[in-house]
Symmetry: C2
Subunit: 581 residues, 2 copies
């Protein structure tokens, strides 16, 4: 196999076009080997094999610096830069992450996992080069889906100011994670249809030079285009049209489902394990569809990840105009939700905890200063959520709960979650965020409260004495186990509390606890710094109450084992009891 | 005067064009009355008088909804919507804020003060209207400077998807706060030069319809254009060319200095009070210029507010290519700073605390996950900073200090600030943010530490016993006063500590304190929730140490008196002593 001769990008520069095409086929076999067994980003990687080969054929990495946007399409780059064993040998799958990673290779410049950052990061590399009087090309590779993100648009707009070598490869497969949303995609379509000649051109309107490649899966065309812009003295876009999932029929056909895929049988394309049982995504979708059918004012918003709350293409169609996908544009989605609520509509915007990070200012300025009653669903906000360093769900409590006026709720089971969601949609007083449970769908037989407008009233679910356990959100089940363990260990049943509200203290309850309790334990599924427990430690700071806060250390975890992280943070009932009693 | 007959927008619909022109002159006299005596946003308001008159002449507010971007240009709108006394009568100046404010009028839909939000907010109003089957026009009014912000670009891109009535008035005065930066301004220039006919058109490339008004200070032209798009059935841009500061020669001539202006003599344009003494802005500029001259790798970045660190047009010229203004594009600025640091440059990015809110995700993902050694200067981060609800500087500790890997420093005087800045620029290990002092320029005779790489070592500045006062950043002077008061009150001099590091605990010192102290008091110039003191309360939670955290309540203050806010939060030495002893 050719691939055995490729140890660094230098090695492909000797190959002729026929060999490069053969190499592409070999690379796809390596991708299939890893993706079918381990899962991962399928469509983006299958689509960009040829372009990556051509980039490394023309440019001289790492002197020439390539920055991949999101970097979920960097598998071929990894294969060509000394990491092919992580694709061809199962025992080496764990050697690499699914994103670019400077710890792995001198050919990777940033840990990247959020979209729309490549142009700005690469602008920085180019500026640094120019400051130091160095040479070399800087290349950002960005997909069409990522173009709708504010950071990417800011970067595209600024790039023209560099006035020196800078190349932006726009990898246009006419697809985001789901379909694209936004007016600029009409322009990309016009550019594709006119072979890049249409006079109205988003990139030229941003002050950039422009070049078009009609078949971005044709290595010869790509090499010609990249060679033409190599060592250019000004910022230039190379717009290449690729096919998402190219080379594997199921992925070419159903591009949304094959953007990322679980392990599957390569022969049939069927997933090896079917998801079973209830999921909050499907349940939320069903609930919202019912609400929307009953009330035309209710509208569900997503930002390019509609399936995180179960909105498959069929469900989106069912919701019609009451479903809005803002594209990769979370800032816009939050501000628009605020505007909808101001106008009398009932918006529900859902995305992942990690992606809410893009909206701090919109949460504060557009939503909370204005006290508009929008509902936010914060998904995978948990140590049980996504495990890549760039997609962690353990920071949202610290980020969101300290914004004034926001009511941030932490349901502890399925019934409570939907009661909170229903209340939030129907109330008119507060911006509300709900931290979707992430530790499985737990049900309760107890009646759940339907009205949450009397803020910051915690629920005592077990009256005891000595110790009070405040178990927030999806650490409530841990709280139940801890309460049992404390009773066993100390002989006295503790009080167990479901705080429900992340954003405020139940000071009346705290005063009452002081009578028959000397220890308070807080449990939260997120970092301790800036979090929930510290507020309680502050409240009791001047008193004799002993307060123990349990949660996660402030750190960027990466590809972690949940059990190991829980143990490292003393988050088992046994460890907590051993610490305290 | 005509203005006496205008109580609501309905009243101007009876006027003919000559009267409307006369009304514009009267309005400018009202603006001059307020601005010369009280200060405020001069250029934006003087430039948009005619356009605001035309909007209210053509549209029917509040059924038709006008959303002003930043809303620092809404003074004429306030005058025409029943609030003229706040401009013509000095005793009523305090009745209105400098921004749109729903509490003041049914014609204001949002509290707005950050740029680039109008299109998204207005999209929400339009969507709500469509969901409920209502009618009426929705109009966003956005300046050219605001277009470079990611949220605005996301909104422009999304707007085309609305598919119903939506009007975006682009108020193009060819100026941001300082000059514009970004490639899109080449396109605005081309559109101006071609009378709106040039085929390459940013707005059309975003999928929007487009109309051009050559003289946006000509009421007749504006009325014709707005009438033509009134009740349009699809999203449309009306690009109007206005003159910033129109009608007052000093403001027409020096547009940057007259964007916002302190009180002045209308005859001469001279400021009534000259700023005296040292300022951290000027000192920082001088320091950075010196660093940049000595080392070509050092580069200063701003995002449309270069003067916040003293970079006037002359100083920017002096810095040459080592000064970069990213325009209103804070996300890009932070990501680019990370890229520059990755490439070996030494970037320093400065902006206001309130504007860092736009960069949470860039701080986390682009900068801190990658541990790139960029320096951030956080300006007006203080209760002493800006006093408008939309520009508060009291949230950055909660927002930034809980991001892993960031080193956030709080200098307590001038010498320490520059020592920290110098260290940060020269080190290669950490992303560093520095909270610029905001309570005046204090000097010290003591030698200050030059190396801060041994993280989280607090400085004991006065060894005492009984009580330890941890006085963070520019509350250190309050800490000194408190220490004296405690000594007077209790007869025992307390220990005084300058924590220096916001982002970590000096646990060794904390253990030592336990020996001879029973009370710890923390002081911080920001909200308590998610802040510095709570971490110390958590540390001592399981112990007998009594911890009292002092800082600000989590709330959106507006146009406040610093003294009143300090008193309300018990932030005087007398109050603290009365609380504790």
């Amino acid at each position: 196999m050719l691939i055995e001769t490729i140890h660094s990008p230098v090695d492909i520069k000797q190959l002729d076009i026929t060999q490069l095409i053969a190499l592409a086929a070999e690379i796809r076999s390596g991708l299939m080997n890893r993706l079918s067994k381990r899962g991962g980003h399928f469509g983006p990687n299958y689509g960009i094999v040829e372009a990556t080969i051509a980039l490394h054929f023309v440019f001289d990495s790492p002197k020439d610096k390539i920055v991949f946007d999101v970097s979920h399409q960097c598998y071929t780059h990894k294969i060509l830069t000394g990491r092919s064993s992580a694709f061809f040998s199962e025992e080496h799958f764990g050697d690499v992450s699914g994103y670019t990673n400077p710890a792995e290779s001198e050919h990777d410049f940033f840990n990247v996992g959020h979209t729309s950052t490549s142009v700005s990061l690469a602008c920085g590399l180019a500026k640094s080069r120019d400051l130091m009087g160095e040479s070399g090309n800087v290349i950002a590779v960005i997909g069409d889906g990522s173009l709708s993100g504010g950071e990417a648009l800011e970067g595209l707009d600024f790039a023209a100011e560099l006035g020196s070598n800078f190349i932006i490869v726009v990898n246009d497969n006419d697809m985001s994670i789901a379909e694209n949303h936004g007016g600029l995609y009409q322009n990309l379509n016009a550019l594709r249809k006119s072979n890049g000649t249409c006079a109205c051109n988003l990139f030229r309107a941003m002050g950039l030079d422009y070049r078009f490649v009609a078949d971005g899966n044709d290595i010869a065309q790509l090499i010609a285009a990249f060679s033409a812009v190599k060592d250019t003295d000004h910022p230039t876009v190379v717009h290449i049209v690729t096919q998402k999932g190219k080379g594997y029929t199921p992925a070419e056909t159903d591009r949304e489902n094959w953007h990322w895929h679980v392990p599957f049988d390569p022969e049939t394309g069927h997933a090896l394990q079917l998801g079973g049982g209830e999921s909050y995504g499907d349940l939320t979708c069903d609930f919202l569809l019912k609400k929307m059918k009953a009330d035309p004012k209710v509208v569900t918003l997503a930002a390019a990840v509609p399936v995180c709350i179960g909105f498959t293409p069929e469900k989106r169609k069912e919701a019609g105009k009451q479903f809005v996908d803002a594209g990769i544009a979370e800032e816009h989605a939050v501000a628009m939700a605020s505007g909808i609520a101001r106008g009398g509509g009932k918006p529900v915007f859902a995305t992942h905890s990690s992606f809410f990070q893009r909206t701090y200012d919109q949460l504060s300025q557009d939503l909370c200063i204005n006290r508009n009653p929008a509902t936010l669903l914060v998904n995978t906000a948990s140590v049980y959520g996504m495990h890549d360093i760039t997609h962690l769900g353990i920071f949202d409590i610290a980020m969101m709960s300290n914004i004034p006026n926001l009511v941030y709720l932490a349901p502890t089971n399925c019934e409570e979650y939907f009661a909170m969601l229903d209340w939030s949609i129907e109330q008119n007083s507060f911006p509300v965020a709900i931290r979707m449970p992430c530790n499985g769908v737990f049900h309760t037989d107890r009646p759940v409260q339907t009205d949450y407008s009397a803020l910051n009233r915690y629920q005592v679910t077990q009256q005891g004495s000595g110790t009070a356990v405040l178990a927030l959100g999806d650490f409530y089940q841990l709280g139940e186990a801890l309460a049992k363990k404390i009773a066993e260990t100390t002989g006295t049943a503790p009080t167990l509390i479901n705080p429900r509200y992340i954003t405020g203290l139940d000071e009346q309850l705290f005063r009452e606890l002081s009578d028959h309790h000397s220890v308070v334990i807080t449990l939260e599924d997120g970092i301790l710094d800036g979090g929930f427990g510290e507020k309680i430690a502050r409240y009791y700071g001047p008193t004799d109450m002993k307060v123990y806060c349990y949660g996660l250390k402030k750190e960027f975890l990466d590809r972690y084992s949940v059990d190991e992280v829980l143990k490292a943070n003393h988050l088992t009932p046994e460890q907590i009891c051993a610490d305290i009693y």
